[in-house]
């Protein structure tokens, strides 16, 4: 909402953009742990890296030689193998909806722990395209995607969508939960400021059923992405599920489904 309003403000009044130099502080590198378990066949990966200063290039130093273990509530313990520097690969653990996974990482004398439960799969039945003349005008009729699925009647489901248009992945963070419309068929379209969908485009939608902490994590990122200082939410590091020592990133177990269609 806010993004739309801000976009409108900027658009309505003469505005100009330029690249500027800002002297940003340096900071000690922080550990970043990003781990995923899905219901798709493995292997699954945990990536451990470090932050760099804003002015540096986007080369994030990998954290090598860490001991990375994922266990589940059925008693499976999987010690991950470092496939490439900083990239740790599962060997046997299987992602099953309803199971709870615990990640432990020991690295450079510090321990980290994170827990995530894979939600039950909610079926993505179809995708619909809806004509939408967006706030940014657009040329002619643009479309938004409505993922069609029926939210389970039990409260507390969260979803993340990844939209790809003509092979190009939309970088926007799109998350839904059932605070609204619990237990009914979804009607909400995917609003994305970054993607324009027209007739003839090939659109694929990946729907992930995620747990609540993952929802908060991506929701926070979506809010920050909005406007930045001056227009949007005051930015903050998204709350995550990593405990023990301070680390950025997220460990999440989710189900994944994908549908691809051409807009007609």
């Amino acid at each position: 909402m806010r993004n739309i309003l801000l976009a409108l403000a900027v658009l309505t009044f003469a505005s100009c953009e330029k690249e500027i130099e800002i002297d940003l502080n340096s900071t000690d590198p922080k550990v970043v742990i990003e781990g995923n378990i899905t219901n798709n066949p493995g292997p699954h990966y945990v990536r451990i890296s470090k932050t760099v200063n804003f002015s540096e290039t986007n080369n994030y130093p990998p954290v090598t030689g860490a001991l990375v273990i994922i266990t589940d509530n059925t008693g499976v313990t999987d010690t991950l193998t470092e496939a490439t520097p900083g990239m740790y690969r599962t060997n046997k653990i299987i992602g099953t909806p309803g199971n709870t996974y615990t990640l432990t990482v020991s690295s450079e004398g510090k321990d980290y722990r994170a827990v995530s439960t894979m939600p039950q799969l909610v079926s993505l039945d179809s995708v619909r395209f809806n004509i939408f003349s967006g706030p940014l005008g657009g040329n002619g009729d643009a479309y938004t995607v409505i993922p069609v699925f029926t939210d389970p009647s039990v409260f507390g489901n969260s979803y993340r969508f990844i939209q790809t248009v003509n092979g190009e992945e939309d970088k926007s963070y799109i998350v839904f939960n059932d605070n609204v419309n619990n237990g009914s068929v979804n009607q909400r379209p995917i609003f994305s400021p970054d993607a324009e969908i027209n007739t003839g485009d090939t659109v694929s939608i990946e729907m992930r059923c995620i747990d609540n902490i993952a929802y908060t994590y991506f929701y926070t990122l979506s809010q920050i992405a909005g406007g930045g200082p001056g227009g949007g939410t005051t930015p903050s590091n998204p709350p995550n599920n990593i405990t023990g020592n301070y680390a950025l990133g997220l460990f999440t177990a989710y189900t994944s489904q994908k549908r691809t269609e051409v807009v007609k």
Binding site: L5, T57, I131, E169, V180, R188, G232
Partner: protein, 768 residues
């Protein structure tokens, strides 16, 4: 409560008046001769006794009690000819005065100041009044004269952003300003995302801002009171006033319903940007406009009783085709009854309605749903003003507001969401305030406000401890829930050092029972109000101020320096990652803490002559400490701006032409920028360290304006106003965002967006 307090006050009042000498009371109303509008703040005094005098109240009423005798009674108001009348006071006497405007060519360039050295004598500290006529001369973006943008040029008042009508007073947030339009609180005083205020200057009579040291009759917000009063309407003859601008047009009609007895004014404004939008292909299906309607009527029942009815209705509409629309706006209505109960006792009873709501409509795949929120008040205010003798005046009364707040909620055909009920509450206050001239040099003003806020039944209230639900209270409709009681002492004084200088000081405690939740760095129409609850406690502020006032060159120059320190308790903020729209209970997403603000404000004004204007400078600091933000340590609030400078000048070049210029400079807002970056899921993600640890670039700009007044043709007056905003085209940063470099994926960059450079405007104003 009132029953108990009233006898107590009455005893005090009687003691006050028990004096032996035969005294009589002179009372009446002071008006403008030409329009019949009552005049506020006219100095009424007698030549025979120096240091004795009063000033007309907000309804033009004055009361002055003097020993029996013969007096020259002088009524003095800047911009008007002084009026002297000889009165032989041998009984209580009703004396209404009508003042004529001073028609010399300088009349319109006098900066508001009722009596020349009133600024020294009045106890009020941190109070500024705006002259509506003066506002017209100051260049304003888009040529829309706007009181909210003009008050931002005063020290201690800061703009919420480029071209924004939102403002911050002495470190307070935007919701800590009590904005009153004919006593009705206005919950969102901005149009079009803050670029315009809801106040149409054509309909306004008087504007004053009190920066925290408010007398006891005001309450409910921590930082300031912006008291806006609408015109009553000319009761002598008909007038049409209007203006054509680039963005909007205005038209006002006023006149008598019954000459001398009753009058009306209706004033409207509408933007027409949407007309241009419709002309473009890209925007033809979109709508974007706002409008305002002010109306007021008054009727004099008899010499002693008068009734006013006034209302405001404004709405913003934004729409994109059939899919998306948002509209929001305020409605206020006030009915007031003035009664002169005795020559010494004036009563005003007000019955007030205010409403603010927004509604977002979304149509998706043939299904409609909407998100809406509303705040609706019914408000009863009774105030007595008692003038026992020439050295004393009292104000006392009560105020009771019934709030109905509907939190932000989803509704629609096929929508099921956890039901969010409207919440009801009762905000009450009893107050008494006394202004006492202890000597010719020393004036003391003190008062007490007792506020109590009760949660009314009809909803379930959850109690959280650090975001975890620990208990809940279900209040049935008709039940009374928790009540918060607060005593708010207020005190201020002025001490005249000599004829040209004084010192003043004050202390005030204010409490605030309604809180605006905003997760954004700028205000939007969808920010929602929430009342006290079992988690949210009343916000409390304690402010101390001290000031030195000095006039030079026969009061032509006025200089003041004021210092303040303010401590704030129970400040509310969202936690990181708060789900603001759809959370089942928004209270789970909140954090609490304290705040402090301190600073020095300097103001030098030139109030008379061909050249007038002022220089205002503020040096200040504003911080917050919220449990759960910035590792629980102090951080600079967003509105913390170390330096803030405004220079305003107006020059009457010839009889027809006047020029104006305006320069502002301020330190950039405190903002949160990334200190590092990392990668999550293929996206560059930023790492933040301290909250608001960075600064936006300093903001400055220079605006110029010129007004040409055409020679009058019979009754027809007109003028052209030309202005250029940001003359030297400074690219002031509106936002700074961080992104991957589009041409070089190995790099990130910072992008600054600037809004307005060289914005010229032309406005044509007329009156007949």
């Amino acid at each position: 409560m009132m029953n108990k307090l009233f006898p107590l006050l009455a005893v005090g009042l009687i003691l006050n008046t028990a004096q032996a000498q035969t005294k009589f009371t002179l009372n009446g109303t002071v008006k403008d001769k030409k329009t019949g509008e009552t005049l506020i703040g006219v100095a009424v005094y007698v030549k025979e006794i120096s240091g004795t005098g009063t000033s007309s109240n907000e309804y033009g009423f004055y009361s002055l009690t003097l020993p029996q005798g013969k007096y020259h009674v002088i009524s003095n108001y800047v911009g008007y000819k002084a009026d002297t009348v000889v009165v032989n006071l041998t009984a209580n006497t009703k004396l209404d005065r009508s003042l004529s405007e001073n028609t010399s060519q300088l009349k319109e360039v006098v900066v508001s100041n009722k009596r020349k050295d009133d600024n020294l004598r009045k106890t009020e500290i941190g109070v500024e009044k705006l002259d509506i006529k003066e506002i017209e001369k100051i260049p304003i973006i888009f040529g829309e004269k706007d009181i909210l943008k003009t008050i931002q040029l005063l020290p201690g008042v800061k703009s919420a952003g480029e071209g924004n009508s939102g403002f911050f007073v002495r470190g307070g947030s935007a919701d800590q300003n009590l904005i009153l339009l004919d006593e009705a609180p206005v919950y969102n005083a901005s149009h079009l995302l803050g670029f315009f205020s809801t106040f149409n200057s054509d309909a306004l009579k008087d504007v004053s801002i009190i920066k925290g040291n408010s007398p006891a009759q005001y309450g409910g917000r921590l930082s300031s009171v912006l008291d806006v009063k609408m015109k009553e309407g000319n009761n002598q003859g008909y007038n049409v006033t209007g203006g054509l601008g680039l963005i909007s047009s205005r038209l006002s009609v006023e006149g008598p319903i019954q000459k001398d007895k009753s009058s009306f004014i209706v004033s409207g404004r509408r933007t027409y940007a949407d007309v241009f939008l419709k002309a473009t292909d890209d925007f033809k299906d979109n709508s974007l406009y706002f409008y305002d309607l002010n109306a007021k009527a008054n009727y004099r029942i008899n010499e002693k009783n008068r009734i006013y009815a006034s209302g405001y209705f404004g709405r913003d509409v934004l729409g994109f085709g059939d899919n998306f629309g948002i509209d929001w706006g305020n409605t206020t209505a006030t009915v007031r009854w003035n009664s002169i109960i005795s020559p010494k006792l004036f009563s005003n009873t007000s019955f007030i309605y205010s409403n603010y709501d927004y509604n977002i409509k979304i149509n998706s795949g043939g299904t409609d749903f909407n998100i809406n929120s509303q705040i609706k008040d019914w408000n009863l205010k009774q105030e007595f003003q008692f003038f026992p003798n020439a050295k004393n005046s009292w104000r006392f009364g009560f105020n009771s507001i019934h709030h109905n707040i509907t939190p932000s909620r989803f509704e629609g055909d096929n929508i099921t969401a956890e039901e969010k009920e409207s919440r009801y509450s009762l905000e009450n206050a009893v107050f008494a305030n006394n202004t006492m001239k202890l000597s010719n040099r020393f004036t003391l003003d003190y008062g007490l406000r007792f506020s109590f806020y009760t949660i009314l039944g009809g909803d379930k209230y959850n109690i959280y401890d650090k975001g975890k639900l620990t208990d809940s209270v279900v209040l049935a409709s008709g039940d009374f829930g928790k009540t918060y009681y607060n005593l708010e002492p207020r005190m201020q004084f002025s001490y005249l050092l000599n004829d040209v200088s004084s010192i003043k000081g004050g202390y005030a405690r204010n409490t605030q029972h309604l809180h605006l939740l905003s997760n954004s760095t700028s205000s939007t129409p969808t920010d929602q109000w929430i009342g006290n609850s079992y988690n949210i406690k009343p916000e409390i502020s304690d402010q101390m101020s001290i000031g030195y006032f000095r006039n030079f060159s026969d009061n032509r120059f006025q200089f003041s320096v004021e210092g303040y320190y303010k401590h704030m308790q129970n400040q509310v903020d969202y936690k990181d990652g708060a789900d603001i729209n759809s959370a089942p209970d928004i209270e789970r997403e909140l954090l609490y803490g304290i705040g402090r603000a301190y600073g020095v404000e300097l103001l030098l004004k030139k109030t008379e002559g061909k050249f007038t204007g002022w220089v205002g400078y503020t040096l200040s600091r504003t911080e917050r400490k919220i449990d759960g933000i910035n590792n629980n340590e102090w951080y600079a609030a967003r509105q913390d701006r170390t330096h803030d400078l405004s220079v305003v000048g107006m020059y009457q070049l010839t009889k027809r032409w006047s020029l104006s210029g305006l320069f502002v400079y301020n330190t950039g807002n405190a903002v949160t920028f990334p200190s590092g970056k990392y990668n999550v899921g293929g996206n560059t993600t930023y790492y933040y360290t301290e909250r608001n640890g960075y600064r936006m670039p300093a903001y400055h700009r220079f605006d110029i304006g010129a007004t040409y007044t055409k020679p009058h043709k019979k009754r027809f007056e007109s003028s052209w106003n030309f202005s250029v905003y940001n003359v030297y085209g400074r690219e002031n940063a509106y936002t700074i965002t961080f992104e991957d470099h589009p041409d070089d994926p190995t790099r990130t960059r910072a992008i600054q967006t600037s809004l307005f450079r060289w914005v010229p405007s032309i406005t044509y104003n007329f009156k007949f």
